[in-house]
């Protein structure tokens, strides 16, 4: 892929807060019209990366081009060609939905006629036309999100950043927003970069997914290909007491073993036929198996493979919490 055809080209991009690298040495190219996902736990550096691309933070080192414009040198051209929906709500609650959109379009230098036409159009797209004269403080969480997505589209950006667009929304609203995002991407041919820590979201939406951990992209491919790297089913054994995973190493059919406290994840093919063999081996070695689950591979498993941990927040270990606190303390 030539740079001229790419929506985003990132080279060795790094952002340090004091000595802490929130984003370290990331290189990445996103094609025009691609729906690209950044998947990672809180504190992985997704938001910092997005903020650098959106010209809100200055990179410590490295380079990034959006639609051929440099995020450091051509800030205003970059700002003109991107739209962004932030992780936290960034609406003025004391203005109506319409006024929020109007404010935005004036700031982007649109004329009156173009503004009215575009605002009407995006309001219809997110189905908020009848609510546009209400103050935003009266909106529900889902409505606010939709309004923000609408706002991100008014000035017809070439690249749209969505930072955790469905965080904290109920399943139904989430589905709804996913459909908008797909529609936008296919109908308007907008390049979309979405960050998320929801596996289903990345799996359902994205053409390609980059898995981010500790400021680095550790794996990058389509969801299908990523799942294929697991190449197999996962048998998860829940075990009590002390045990050695060595006993499973004698089986040739086990491709990969991951131990996680009381859980052992085994990558195998045709998992259903291997369960009896494994259980017998466990019994022979006096290992107490409490439960067995067989999973067809998901992005969660891919994530576990590349980062050695689960993505869910409640499983974040002490080190991650520390990093998160550090990030918050510095970023505030």
């Amino acid at each position: 892929m030539k740079n001229g055809q790419a929506a985003i080209v990132i080279k060795n991009l790094t952002k340090k807060f004091n000595s802490f690298s929130a984003v370290s040495d990331i290189s990445l190219t996103v094609a025009r019209g691609e729906l690209f996902g950044l998947l990672g736990p809180n504190g992985a550096g997704k938001t910092t990366l997005i903020k650098m691309l959106a010209t809100l933070l200055k990179p410590t080192s490295g380079q990034a081009m959006i639609s051929g414009f440099d995020v450091i040198k051509d800030r205003n051209e970059v700002r003109n060609s991107i739209g962004i929906v932030f992780q936290e709500t960034a609406l003025d609650n004391k203005l109506t939905g319409f006024e929020n959109l109007d404010f935005h379009s004036v700031m982007y230098g649109m004329g009156k006629k173009a503004r009215m036409k575009k605002i009407k159009e995006v309001l219809e797209l997110v189905e908020l036309s009848d609510k546009s004269d209400q103050l935003v403080e009266k909106y529900s969480g889902g409505m606010k999100r939709r309004l923000e997505i609408a706002r991100g589209l008014i000035h017809e950006p070439k690249v749209l950043f969505l930072d955790e667009p469905t965080l904290g929304l109920d399943a139904q609203t989430r589905r709804h927003i996913w459909d908008y995002i797909k529609k936008l991407n296919s109908e308007k041919e907008i390049t979309i970069i979405i960050t998320t820590h929801y596996m289903e979201e990345a799996d359902y939406l994205c053409d390609r997914v980059g898995i981010m951990d500790k400021g680095k992209i550790v794996a990058i491919d389509s969801p299908v290909n990523l799942k294929n790297t697991i190449g197999a089913d996962i048998i998860r054994l829940e075990i009590t007491g002390e045990y050695e995973i060595d006993i499973f190493k004698n089986f040739d059919f086990i491709k990969d073993i991951k131990k996680l406290n009381g859980l052992v994840n085994l990558s195998v093919t045709e998992g259903e036929s291997k369960i009896p063999l494994l259980l017998k081996a466990a019994q022979d070695n006096n290992i107490k198996v409490i439960s067995v689950t067989l999973n067809k591979p998901s992005l969660e498993d891919v994530f576990l493979k590349f980062t050695g941990k689960m993505i869910r927040e409640n499983e974040a270990n002490a080190q991650d919490i520390n990093r998160e606190n550090m990030r918050r303390g510095i970023n505030r």
Binding site: L57, E77, F86, T89, L91, D92, F103, V106, M107
Partner: protein
Amino acid sequence: MKIINFNAIYILWLREMKRTWRAKSRIIATILMPLFFLAFLGFGFRRASIPGLPEDVNYSIFLVPGIIGMTMLFTSTIAGFSFLWDKEFGFLKEIMVTPVSRLSIVIGRIAGGATISIFQGLIILFLSYIFGFRIPGIFAFLLTFLLMLIISFTFIGMGLIFASRMKDIHGFSLIVNFVVFPIFFLSGAIYPLDEMPKFIRILTYIDPLTYGVDGLRNILIGSSTFPFLFDFAIMLLVCVIFLVVGSYLFEKSEVN
């Protein structure tokens, strides 16, 4: 990109107007506070003999220019701080990511804040008719308006300086208690400064509002410590310095 984007300045100004208009309880509170000062201090010390007070001026009248200065001080500082509120509620990011120059953003904000604080100052000026105060004439009124504008810009600039250096709104009450209130008390807004002990007088000379209040008093009741042009020149100088420094610091600040 235009450095000065008038459409953006206008929409930023309009936003301030709408927000203020929709928070009516806040407008009422910011008008009632100076009104209470006028009423209670004025009536309370009506018969007191206050050394340094001009002979033919009663205390209620003496107080009016001071309370106008106070209104400008408080409303303008808060306006300068409003960036922090936007930061707290996330809207600042939305503003900062647009292709509008930081300078236009600052100007829009200053225009909005100054409009509101002048409006409140004028309300106090007119309401002081209740206490027997009379504006000397149209020229005096215009001059008062001009000086109010400069005082307003000065303290918006000051608010901006603090807001750019602070990470969140938690330090706001600290600034109000340890910066804004001393500026108010040391400005001579509610008592003449001539009788102050020497070391405090030095502080009053450092306080920019001293010159604002003294200037207002000169125009409105014809009594002052310094010549009017001196007050005016000092006020203008501080105003320019604060605005330039405030805008500079704001431009440098990153939105995280």
